[in-house]
Subunit: 391 residues, 2 copies
Amino acid sequence: MSDKKVRFGIVGLGNMGSEHVHSIMGMNEATVGAVCDVDLSKTEKYTARYGMKAFSNHREMIKSGLIDAVLVSTPHYDHVPIGIDALAGGLHVLVEKPIAVSVKAARQIIEVSKKFPNQKFGIMFNQRTNPMYQKMRELIADGELGTVRRVTWLITDWFRTWSYYASGGWRATWAGEGGGVLINQCPHNLDLIQWVTGMIPNRITAVGFVGKTHPIEVEDEMSAILEYPNGAIGHFVTSTGEAPGTNRFEICGDRGKIVAEHGKITFTRTRENVQEVNQKSPKSFASIETWTIDIPYPKAEGGEHKRLTENFIKSILHGTPMLGPGVEGIHGLEIGNAMMMSGLTRKPVELPVDGDTYDAFLSDMAKQYGGKKTLTTKKADVDMSASFAKA
Amino acid sequence: MSDKKVRFGIVGLGNMGSEHVHSIMGMNEATVGAVCDVDLSKTEKYTARYGMKAFSNHREMIKSGLIDAVLVSTPHYDHVPIGIDALAGGLHVLVEKPIAVSVKAARQIIEVSKKFPNQKFGIMFNQRTNPMYQKMRELIADGELGTVRRVTWLITDWFRTWSYYASGGWRATWAGEGGGVLINQCPHNLDLIQWVTGMIPNRITAVGFVGKTHPIEVEDEMSAILEYPNGAIGHFVTSTGEAPGTNRFEICGDRGKIVAEHGKITFTRTRENVQEVNQKSPKSFASIETWTIDIPYPKAEGGEHKRLTENFIKSILHGTPMLGPGVEGIHGLEIGNAMMMSGLTRKPVELPVDGDTYDAFLSDMAKQYGGKKTLTTKKADVDMSASFAKA
């Protein structure tokens, strides 16, 4: 650390990487020591403005001595190899979501990270800094809902145009991204559905569609039913073809339900335990007294990416617990892999997902659908601030 | 008709049949000419109060000359044989929902009804008289939503206690009811999801559970994904084990979405056609101007059963079009049969459902689960007015 500042090397200067450079350059406890992109021309505007060194090869940057941590914001398939190189090179690593495209690759980087317990390994689960999701998690962890019986997330407000998919040749291809809405738009939702509830499903039954409303070769709509080991049921519905779309996250337990929609948490609390009434009431049509409560939660300062990155920096400098430990990146990915495989093969998939089976499935998809994206690549108007789902 | 009053014979004096006797006795254009129950003691309080004749055999009642129409409110399996006897006996027929337990039986009575075009054949789809659903149907029929792309109904507010299931030995058994939440609680929802949208799915993938929160032998929870011939997707989630439960009916099209919840219809209308923006916008993250509109609809007078019955009477006396033609009873039943078979076999089911296949499935279920209802039958507190789902 120079002057107690964490010096980041940022790999991949696409839309997100670019945001990260500017954001970190404005922080007190961090700076950008180097930038890296296979297309060196993309580094020029940063080196010209800030004066850091540029690399076209991430291994050179790792060896340079100029940085303490690597932020990986490359296309998805490069997250794992670059992350592993950086860990092996003695650096802290913060990877953009998803941790990997497939569970097998995710398990590899997690295993490697365990060999370097003194280096921080984090994942950009910036939505874990959202006070609304933190509050929902707290309610469940504190037992306010009792045992969770149903988790339903309708998250169809990921509208993306044909222009979006045309804006990068790698976008919405099996070879370039390893999937569509599940791997690009939904990693946060897939993480939150397990982080908020503390539950991971053990079987997923899904119905998915490749290129339903866009001429692409990956899935742009997915509907999934999740079964949990404790008997709870879950639902996850997403699409990039719907507008205005819905974002409603509903969790029911033995003491009522919480619904998060339009940035508001509504708790319909039952005065009695639902399953006790179910079993013991002498009435056929028992109605349980319920209280409808608006749950308050604090507003957060700054953007979610900034907050997550600052938390990662504090974990390095001050030992603050990480909000997004890299090892937890596997959970949402595994749920997404199971949805993808079930939705496109139309067979239920058990969790944990077998790594080799999923990689073989990915190869099959690439063979079956590769080249079916018929959009001509062209530069589109990109405003990343419009890309994050509103809670 | 005596004095232009339709004289009903009511078969089956359980909870619903009892309501119907009192309701019809209060109508101007109808009366109850006879009541019938295999347990003749159940008829006494009506014959004592109103003086009509009682029968223990429906065939005797049909031949009696005392009635013009039969209202069938027996357990489900008897709807078809009694309905067919009444049609063959020259009478009008109004059957309680469901029209039948299986599509094969439903097709039989529908075929028979076509041989008697001068007799009315109706089904108690009383929720079709609900102005909220009528308004939703109107919005879609008028094209306000454009092409429908997604239909999602979370209808989990069918909470039923163990006492409810203990209140009749036939309840929640394969032999007595032919299913659980889908065949008893949901027939209206299964009808409305097709009547409101005008769309019938061609494939259903479901996950269902027998006796999840009640010691019964039939399904008490079901989650289904519906695929439609036009490419639209649907979701239907129900349970009798949840409280307070959710009743949210959401329909999305190319011109926005309507959400019906808490008795309110909210239309989020897009100013542009979503799929045109999708295809033509130069922006990657296009945001479409939307208007949030509270859709007004009239309040209805009287109860839904009364309104549907009065409509049936008017169809006999004045030729008024029937709101619930019996021949339309097959649609929701078929959707329910497909959900049931898919949810319990865990395989996608194509529609139309093959009648023999479904009947064989029903036999399998009875063999596999018959006798697993472990509740001792006892009289419970019954308040039917609490049993109808609030919109």
